[in-house]
Amino acid sequence: MFDALVSEDLRDFSEEELDKLFVVHEEGIKQFLGRIPLGCIYATFLSGLYVEMEKIVGRAARGLIINASKNRGKIAGNAIRRRYEKKYGEMSVERAKMVARNMLVIWGKCFGWGKMSFKVNDTEFWLEVEDSLEATGFLKLKEKPKGPVCWMLLGYSWGLLEGLFNRKFEGEEVECKAVGGEKCRFVFRTI
């Protein structure tokens, strides 16, 4: 499983193929990479959770979710990089880009976070998401957001990149379907 994550370009793999590669079904429990249990939540529950957090701490809810997700994404990125380096030696920039794409492809196709596509150059990583779980959830709520809402995806991707590349990035959701965008678009720039 790990070898496929760090050595194959997974963008053209179907959901079924990815599921076979990365998700183990055992006694009614789905496990990612054979050891991390997976579950589903409905989109309006997730976006509703953000709305409720905003009622308690105001706009700071956004920073809390982004920050916490970024920290967990960074832990995942660091863990993958360290495991790779232990087995294969130093992770090149090109390899890190591919692994980042692969992780997000899995989030999209296996975990249902939306259809993801990527553009990468030397200093920027662009992520586009059709039907983002977070944005879709907000579109179905009566509470209308004032700005982009894909906080968890922004934070996780941002931290994942920092962990994989072992350097700092600036991240932003520049377009969000929940506030009238055609799709959700994120940019991450090296600092």
Binding site: G58, G63, I66, N67
Partner: protein, 121 residues
């Protein structure tokens, strides 16, 4: 001079008043804009926590019908944290030594938050 440099200048001037160990300008939604914090403090977490403190205080005060708070002050035996609004888009937060003169700090903080508000438009 870039906007970030101008904001960092505000923090430097604030530190020059003495007893301020760390300071940051944070967006109302908890993301770091500028900071003067030692590298062993997680500035991003400090930013998110400061915005959360002020946000929670605003909710609590408005729920009780007492208007919006001017600032949040947290005191411990090792120091103080003061978070105050700096316009609609940002807040200013400082961490002080335990012996800091709170009156003086609040005065300087008021002036600095006005500057931040002007700079951020």
């Amino acid at each position: 001079m870039s906007l970030r440099s101008e904001l960092e200048e505000v923090l430097k001037e604030l530190k020059a008043t003495g007893d301020i160990e760390a300071s940051a300008i944070v967006s109302r939604d908890g993301l770091l804009i500028a900071a003067d914090i030692s590298s062993n403090v997680n500035a991003e977490a400090f930013a998110a926590m400061s915005a959360t403190m002020l946000g929670a205080a605003e909710t609590a005060m408005s729920e009780l019908g007492k208007g919006l708070p001017d600032r949040v002050v947290v005191e411990s035996s090792d120091g103080k944290i003061v978070a105050t609004g700096a316009g609609d888009r940002a807040l200013l937060v400082v961490m002080t030594s335990p012996k800091a003169n709170l009156g003086l700090i609040l005065l300087q903080l008021g002036k600095a938050s006005k500057k931040v508000e002007e700079l951020l438009g």
